[in-house]
């Protein structure tokens, strides 16, 4: 998808004034938080699991080359094939070629954020294939021609009425469906036909298992299984950081994933796919492919954003982020929203495109506090700001203001004199009311807030006087 991250401020303004979106966000808001909290309260060993999970990922990332080679060898041993894609273009070309080789017309898709990242649906359509999203949320936003607004709940910005209206328009009824049940039943009926007629199924992967060459996909709708097992060809799209050494390791991460994401102890379906159908198997694809996408990941492996590769895409940081909660996912302008997106988007799309994202955070740290993989998200946002500052980014005005302030802050005597003058002026301006409603140059503050008037003399000046009064000055 084409990024609008460069227009973040405008996107924010639009989102804050979009009443439908605000209603939907308000309704969705606390649910994930409460469910996660309840799930954690019921699992006393959560912190211990979190430490183990971090250790597993750190170990894997430190030996990523070995585990990827092992994974490739095991996929081949089970009759499948691994394809390496350095860029989104390469990944799209590989997938389109595999679909052509399969003689495909219709392609079903399980939810895949890497699929969004590389723009696979557009590429499939351009290649003459009909791509059908089979996750209900993804299906809804595909009908609406919108990108997902949340990494695990892609249509969270849509109300039931919005969805009923979309179905009416696209499924050709006269009246909108009036219940969630009726909406789900109709989607099920439509998707069943797609599952049975698809030639290729594309899924993402939550984890790749090096020791067995398996891909693990978790869903709550079972659509992953039907996408993977019914068509002739199954293609798994995954970022290369998804690999873990063993099934045992994956089980630790799985125990954290659903609890952090939806507050479930486990998702309804946790499916393992290993190679194509074997002799005697009742079902399964004839061919099995895994496309491993790099797209900047191997660069992160060695640099200051290394920690981000531990991300398991649970969405807890989105759910707990006050910025995400205020504007939803689309304002971020690209595939990944929320704190994890504010780190990933600049790394994948460039700071020139997405320079606002790492700055639009009060660094409140709630994301890091809830991250099951202990990713220091505020620290990573700061590191992006360091890159940006070093590259001369940011507005001229803010750079100048920062430089002027820093010049003073490094010179205590001059600082004391200038600030003494400043607080005196502000106190004179606002002293009678106790605050200012407007102040030239401070509109960003006073647009929505009064500015309290300072006391008129600084603490340090008063302290000196106080010491003299005590006879110690």
């Amino acid at each position: 998808m084409k990024s609008t991250a460069h227009a973040f401020k405008r996107n924010v303004h639009v989102a804050l004034h979009d009443e439908r979106l605000q209603r939907a966000l308000h309704k969705a808001g606390g649910g994930f938080i409460e469910k996660r909290r309840a799930a954690l309260d019921a699992l006393p060993e959560f912190e211990e699991l979190r430490r183990s999970a971090r250790a597993i990922k750190d170990h894997t990332l430190a030996h990523l080359d070995e585990y990827l080679e092992r994974f490739e060898a095991e996929v081949a041993a089970s009759g499948g094939q691994v394809h390496w894609a350095a860029t989104p273009e390469q990944a799209r070309r590989i997938v389109v070629e595999l679909c052509a080789q399969a003689g495909a017309k219709r392609v079903t898709k399980g939810k895949s954020m890497v699929g969004e990242e590389i723009g696979i649906n557009e590429a499939l359509e351009a290649g003459g294939f009909e791509a059908v999203e089979t996750d209900l949320g993804e299906y809804i936003i595909q009908l609406a021609h919108e990108p997902p607004s949340h990494i695990i709940a892609p249509a969270i910005h849509k109300s039931r009425q919005d969805i009923a209206e979309l179905f009416r328009e696209h499924h050709g009824h006269h009246e909108a469906l009036d219940s969630a049940r009726a909406i789900v039943d109709e989607a099920r009926e439509r998707l069943r036909a797609a599952f049975l007629s698809a030639d290729v199924g594309i899924t993402g992967a939550n984890f790749l298992i090096a020791e067995t060459g398996s891909a693990i996909v978790v869903t709550n709708e079972g659509n992953g299984d039907l996408t993977a097992t019914l068509p002739r060809t199954h293609i798994v799209l995954a970022g290369l950081e998804k690999v873990v050494p063993t099934l045992e390791d994956a089980s630790v991460l799985l125990r954290l994933l659903a609890r952090s994401a939806t507050g479930q102890a486990f998702t309804a379906y946790t499916s393992l796919f290993t190679g194509p159908r074997r002799a005697g198997d009742g079902d399964g694809p004839e061919t099995f492919h895994v496309v491993l996408v790099d797209n900047g990941r191997s660069e992160m492996l060695g640099n200051e954003f290394h920690d981000m590769l531990r991300c398991i895409r649970c969405g807890a940081c989105l759910n707990h982020c006050p910025i995400y909660g205020a504007v939803g996912g689309h304002a971020y302008g690209w595939v990944y929203p929320g704190p994890m997106g504010a780190v990933l988007t600049p790394l994948m799309q460039g700071l020139g495109e997405a320079g606002d994202l790492p700055n639009a955070s009060s660094l409140c740290g709630r994301c890091e506090a809830v991250c099951p993989m202990s990713i220091p998200l505020p620290g990573l946002l700061r590191r992006l700001r360091v890159r940006q500052y070093a590259a001369g980014g940011g507005s001229k005005r803010s750079r100048w203001a920062l430089a002027a302030w820093a010049y003073l802050a490094r010179r205590p005597r001059l600082y004391r004199w200038v600030m003494g003058l400043g607080v005196g002026v502000l106190a004179a301006l606002g002293g009678r009311r106790g605050g200012l409603r407007r102040l030239p140059g401070a509109g960003a503050w006073t647009a929505s807030r009064d500015l309290a008037a300072p006391a008129g003399r600084t603490f340090q000046a008063q302290w000196q006087r106080h010491l003299r009064g005590r006879g110690r000055g």
């Binding site: 401020k9 924010v12 303004h13 804050l16 006050p322 910025i323 205020a326 504007v327 700055n359 639009a360 009060s362 660094l363 409140c364 740290g365 709630r366 890091e368 700061r382 992006l384 700001r385 360091v386 500052y389 070093a390 940011g394 803010s398 920062l402 302030w405 820093a406 003073l408 802050a409 490094r410 205590p412 600082y415 004391r416 600030m419 400043g422 607080v423 106190a427 009678r432 106790g434 605050g435 409603r437 401070a442 960003a444 503050w445 647009a447 929505s448 807030r449 009064d450 500015l451 309290a452 300072p454 008129g456 003399r457 600084t458 603490f459 340090q460 008063q462 302290w463 006087r465 009064g469």
Partner: protein
């Protein structure tokens, strides 16, 4: 026990009374309080990617504040900067990294210091009010301060505490964030103001002046009759002056009168 007060730039410029309240509490707990010449902890530079200035300011603070038994700040945000972030600034300068570590180990946020290090919970303060308490993000998540202010407030005569819903959520101040993204910041402080309103409290307290300036500014703009004080002012029995951003009235001392204990 010699304690250096890192008064913080916002208290220095905006609310000197908080500095005097901190001094009063520390002296009553038996500390000798010293105020080294100071400017700011450097967060504006640090949080805007300007590591050069952040390091220069950190060196200045380290040099001015080493050699005391403790360094205490009436702010989770600034104490967090000295305690959690200074040691990360000097990867390539082991001498400064070591000095930063020593300073970090001696640095405490005021409220946590009173309870955890000095074992003081009762300052015999009196404040007739229904208050709610705002946890700053740095106090809560960087320094893990949660129970200490509540224990201190429980000893204040006449004070009733109504807990704030969503107390883990940021008020939207975030240093320069609030002026770089004013619409987002306004929305966040609006949400906070709504939660404050729901508590029915007539007073909001917090231990960080940044949050308090933000919250007071929004409450006054909304013309809500809620008073705003730093918790140290309540504990030091210094609530005779108007709350933050309130108009001074005849009963209260003018800014130029002798403040403090």
């Amino acid at each position: 026990m010699r304690v250096a007060l890192f008064v913080t730039c916002l208290v220095d410029l905006y609310r000197p009374r908080v500095g005097f309240a901190a001094v009063s509490l520390l002296e009553r707990a038996g500390c000798e309080v010293v105020v080294p010449v100071q400017t700011c902890c450097g967060q504006p530079a640090y949080n805007n990617g300007d590591l050069g200035d952040a390091r220069a300011i950190a060196r200045q603070v380290i040099a001015a504040f080493e050699g005391f038994d403790y360094v205490v700040a009436p702010s989770g945000s600034c104490a967090g900067m000295l305690k959690c972030h200074y040691p990360t600034l000097f990867e390539d300068e082991p001498d400064w990294a070591a000095r930063a570590e020593v300073l970090a180990a001696r640095t405490h946020e005021l409220i946590a210091f009173l309870v955890d290090e000095l074992g003081r919970e009762d300052f015999a303060a009196r404040f007739e009010a229904q208050v709610t308490y705002h946890d700053s993000c740095s106090s809560l998540r960087e320094l893990h301060v949660h129970d200490q202010p509540r224990r201190l407030l429980a000893q204040v005569e006449g004070l009733r505490l109504n807990e704030l819903a969503d107390n883990e959520v940021c008020c939207g101040f975030g240093g320069t964030f609030c002026v770089k993204y004013p619409e987002l910041s306004a929305r966040m402080v609006d949400d906070k103001a709504a939660c404050i309103h729901e508590t029915g409290a007539d007073t909001v307290l917090a231990a960080d002046l940044g949050c308090l300036l933000n919250i007071a500014g929004r409450l006054h703009r909304l013309e809500r009759p809620v008073r705003v004080y730093h918790i140290a002012e309540v504990l030091a029995d210094m609530t005779d002056a108007p709350g933050l951003g309130e108009a001074p009235n005849a009963r209260t001392p003018t800014p130029d009168s002798e403040p403090g204990p």
